[in-house]
Symmetry: C2
Subunit: 334 residues, 2 copies
Amino acid sequence: MPKKSGSSIRLAHHPCVYSFAAVVGSKEADGPMGKYFTHTEQDPMLGQKNWEQAETRLQQMALQDALHNGCLQQDELDCIIAGDLVNQCTSSTFAARRTAVPFLGVYGACSTMAEALLIAGMLTDAGFTRYAAAVTSSHFSTAERQFRFPLSYGGQRTPTSQWTCTASGAVVVSSQGNLPRIVGGCIGRIVDLGVTDATNMGAAMAPAAADTIFRYLRDTHTKPEDYDAIVTGDLGNIGSPLLYELLGKQGIRIRDVHHDCGAMMFNEHSQDTHAGGSGCGCSASILAGYFLPQLRDGRLHRMLFAATGALLSAMSSQQGESIPGICHLVELTA
Amino acid sequence: MPKKSGSSIRLAHHPCVYSFAAVVGSKEADGPMGKYFTHTEQDPMLGQKNWEQAETRLQQMALQDALHNGCLQQDELDCIIAGDLVNQCTSSTFAARRTAVPFLGVYGACSTMAEALLIAGMLTDAGFTRYAAAVTSSHFSTAERQFRFPLSYGGQRTPTSQWTCTASGAVVVSSQGNLPRIVGGCIGRIVDLGVTDATNMGAAMAPAAADTIFRYLRDTHTKPEDYDAIVTGDLGNIGSPLLYELLGKQGIRIRDVHHDCGAMMFNEHSQDTHAGGSGCGCSASILAGYFLPQLRDGRLHRMLFAATGALLSAMSSQQGESIPGICHLVELTA
């Protein structure tokens, strides 16, 4: 039976990342990571009638591509674990409603892929599922009009703001298969240091990332240099230095192995995306498009995937609430 | 290691329902179940500045009461698994933000307690958690203004509509303890038969309840009469007969052992609640307030808790979408 080690989790049977896929929009495809994604959609509406249906379609495509990459049929899945940013997570539930696959809805804002992947890993490790899919999505236009302004308003964006990615990632976890493997993880705690600026979510999330990474390194008696990559998503260009500062106070220096999915997604100089990418699909698509292939091909051997989420709503900000952050972590090995 | 049985789940180590609590508002306390709840709050604002903060407070109180009933300290919890109906689940995340307990956010609309309890059961059964809390809440006023109309508008409610309960339930699952025990469960599939009437959610959810209950009975080779109670939440007075009809077509008659939390919560004749109660807190509070004590005291021996959710948003209804339903199930024994 797997045992707890401090507040971190070890998976005794090392479930396998069986297959995966990343689908993104055209702006994401134009960025520095563009060539790595499984599939690019040029039409931001994906042929649908509204933005919410477009995001639903994006998530369906990511799961279909992941199943196809693993030569799996949909009915071989024991569970879909999915979430997104849209109110009541309808992108995920509507994407799954024609599948007839058991479904667990999860919500961790932009940390959702790490939460879903960790739950998929635990359920598969314990034998409750043979094939479990972790799926998340975001769409610039669904997020922009829900959290910020009507798209046609053309509001000015602050320098600290991040750009919600039009992207979806799907990862199928299985008890069978070879590489990469999920060996452990850490369920995030909610950390709120009182940041109230909803246009600076990197600052709101960095303390949660520091808390989770610190706890995992402590519980596993490892150091940053034991990993080829410690990947956060999505602290962006503002949140990442704050993470270095917070961990630095604990005597931990991760800068040499750190990558942030939000900072990787766009060219900040040419793409007008300010502090970087964000959204449930950002870290999910970079994990599935860029990092998992590197683990599969042996170019990376050991990495931490620590996705971060800002747990605000449009209403909570209007009510003057500060922004709680959370960061879930998954350790992957080749 | 626990094994899958069809699409249902058996928990090999029978984790224990260690402690629990239910906190409700004054209207719920005035209903036929009033005397069973742990705690009643007369002030619908719970001393807070807005309805969302009031719901957050309700959830904090339910967890505190459950911990107190189990003589547990908060820091003994390995995980809180929580969700609610408010956009981005802020009632749950804000309730947990001062706890420093690892947190998994889940979303299953009014089925959330069954989803959270099933995940808590699986993680504890597998040894990932020693104490895991499943917590959900709803508040009439947060739901009404988010999903329907401003409270001051005074809109007329249709005969099929349900009344969102001001209620929260918390259940702590542990590998240690005596009774009651979680022995199995079934992760719900999303079922959408095309119901588009957002004021008739019982009809939208009944097909999902029928699907999950049918699958669990089939997979476990059991019949309704093998259980002292098959409890749904919240089909209400419209959805319950539809469930009988759908299961009847499969040759399954559950009427003699069936109870519905939505139908139990209010007196439909004197409380003007129309088709019954609803909300993440409805089935959670009746489970924790009424059914779990009966299992603990040996008055019930074996029951199914099958909470249902309508996976709509205000926007999805406005966009003409039908309402997907889901039903997660947990089997409990004394």
